[in-house]
Amino acid sequence: MTTAVQEPSRTARISIDRRWNTPIGVAIALVVAYLLLVIAAGPQAQDQFINALTIGGVYALIALGYTMVYGIIELINFSHGEIFMVGSFVCWWLLTTLGFSGAITDPLVLIPVLVLTFVVSMAVMGVVGVVIERLAYRPLRNAPRLAPLITAIGVSFILQNLVFVGISNSIVTIPQIIPNPELHIGPINIRLINLFVIVLAVSLMFALQMFISRTKLGRAMRSTAIDREAAQIMGVNVNSTIALTFFIGSALAGAAGVVQGLYFGVTVFNIGFQNGLKAFTAAVLGGIGNITGAAIGGFVIGFIEVLASAFGYGRWSEAAVFATLVLVLVFRPTGILGQQLADRA
């Protein structure tokens, strides 16, 4: 039927940035951020720089889930922050169940425990994400957009409530199993935990990038994000591809939850709200639907928070984050690495 409604032009999709100027832009931004920190913090500039990279890495890991889910089904998954929160509780549960209370100095114990914690938390949260999609979002896939959005907010409250009632209504402490010596790598002084978090976050992002750009399942995800019906015609099972997207996004949030536990040593039932909101901001800042953008956005927010503190406006850091968001969107409505809108000839 030739009068059939054409697929509406869409602005979001899962994509990867291949522009040559992105790495250069990132390098310049890092240098500028460092210089600003030198002005603000003087001798502490290096510590603050590392601190920004660390918390930026956590935001970036969460932001990836927002951007992937938005890219594939155009849903702002407001329950994603709670996935991060539950992930931190999985970390707490696992480490206290195993009976740890402090630093593990023997690397032969530490490394397997770390691997176990990450694998369990990522797997559990991945499955939780898939179950939420199946029960709460899939039945509403063809409903007006507001319906799944409200549902996502509802799921968010349900998860908070489950943890609030079932586990703890106040802050819980998570054993700090990573010993904390300061390492000296050339001129750089960095604590082991910071190095671990930064390397882990960057590796996970790199792995995701490779998965989406190079593998068959990655292509299935991208094609589903661009044109669901055309993907089906090619033999892509759209339901399982969307489930896979939720699994990966939620697993990354689970990893961020473990990092929260290991780095900050505390968690609480409502920690997902603020972190989720900031990570969502990171995704929008970077250009929603764009994987590279979400990663960059996460680090940008990490730096803004640290810079605000370094200049003595620590209490204004949240305001600074959202002011930046507004400014970026005024001048670049599609975000830092926003999509070209007219790409359908």
Partner: protein, 254 residues
Amino acid sequence: MTDTQPAPDLADASTPSGTPLLRLTDVHSYYGHIHALQGISLDVFPGEIVTLLGANGAGKTTTLKTIHGLLRPRQGRIEFEGNDITTMPAHDHVKVGIGQSPEGRRIFSRMSVLENLQMGSYSRKDKASLNEDYARVFELFPRLAERRNQHGGTLSGGEQQMLAIGRALMTRPKLLMLDEPSMGLAPILVEQIFSITQDINRQGTTILLVEQNARMALGVANRGYVLQTGRIVRSGPGPALLEDEEVRKAYLGG
């Protein structure tokens, strides 16, 4: 023609016999409350080019969507090689051998030409013959080979149509469904697309062609069906339909 075919036949003699590759029997499809297909019955036999003609809104694309499982019929039966595929999920159709170049091309704009073709072979297990098929697509459409690393969205309309057909060929279909491949193309490109369609058919692929360009489509087709508001109103061999008074009046400008 078989007894399941209620529409007036113009010539029974040329209708192939044997098991049809595709058979629709009294298929009814709806968009919400709109009764879009009101009892479609048609056959496509192995090796044929069959054309589905009709004005805007007659139900041509709806028929293809229904065959492909993107729209589930409320009534009727769809068989492919004698097997019932009426309720088969859309993504399984490529596995039995149904490929489609959809209306509006629907190529993956932010994926490269090569990646678009890779999507065509998404469900294939016979990795060995893949290279053969890439070679075949690039031979049919040399432009695609030149532009293999370019994003699909940056191609011209004609090139996008080639990519859509090439992508469908990569599924190695027994039945290739082409939905308005000539839409929006310059006359010279239209001729090229139709001649390539015939080449593909000669290489052994059965083709179900949906077109508004009646003269060209009937020219290449073995048989044709004419759709009007969800019903088949005429069917017969291509040349006979070209001569038919009603068809001439409605689709060929008198």
